[in-house]
Subunit: 126 residues, 2 copies
């Protein structure tokens, strides 16, 4: 089994670099490859299922700069090489004041790679 | 399958009410029942495995008041009735200014109930 911290680090770097460096209309195309028809995204409480719905939501978001502050990973199963990833950090919209966020990814193995089965995003601004 | 939002809500209410209303020396005993030998807790980056190690860490924490701000849940598997729970909120130590936190629980079914397989806690104070 690959080192889950390496898997988590590579995934998170790819996700946020792609998110931040793609124009919104390109972002969905570049990130949809990480999801499958059974993938779930709960974005600020709104539940979305599948590649198309998730891509549409990602395309609607403004240009954002994420900064990862903490990254934690654990194996999520004793039987499968799946990885639970927790990220906290800040994001800035159009250069405005950064807001705290937290995001979870549950990565399931597929061939020599992983896809996102669960994705939960929340601003943490209380 | 039980409604995962009900499962998540009942679990989270039990966890934080027990955490906040137990004296630290009682807290470990009251919360350890939620964990198993394979359970993992990553607490502010420190990785702990199993009931004893997790209980010891919980017992060391000061008296805290949690306030749940957001609660999200998703099924974490297409095969098993497991539940991924994401919490954001604030916690106050000894009545001081509240700090944002985020916590993830991955609940696996066992008999008619659930136990915590994954638990990741982070303050979100950047």
């Amino acid at each position: 089994m690959a080192d889950i911290n390496v898997v988590a680090g590579q995934f998170v770097n790819y996700y946020y670099e792609t998110f931040d460096n793609s124009q919104p209309e390109e972002r969905a195309k570049n990130l949809q490859v990480l999801y499958r028809p059974s993938s779930m995204l709960t974005f600020e409480g709104t539940q979305l299922l599948g590649v198309e719905a998730i891509g549409e939501r990602l395309a609607q978001l403004p240009k954002v700069q994420h900064k990862i502050v903490t990254l934690d990973a654990q194996p999520s199963s004793g039987a499968v090489a799946s990885v639970l990833v927790s990220v906290t950090g800040t994001l800035a919209i159009d250069g405005e004041n950064p807001m705290n966020f937290s995001q979870i990814f549950h990565l399931l193995p597929e061939a020599q790679s992983y896809y996102v089965f669960n994705d939960i995003f929340r601003l943490n601004i209380s």
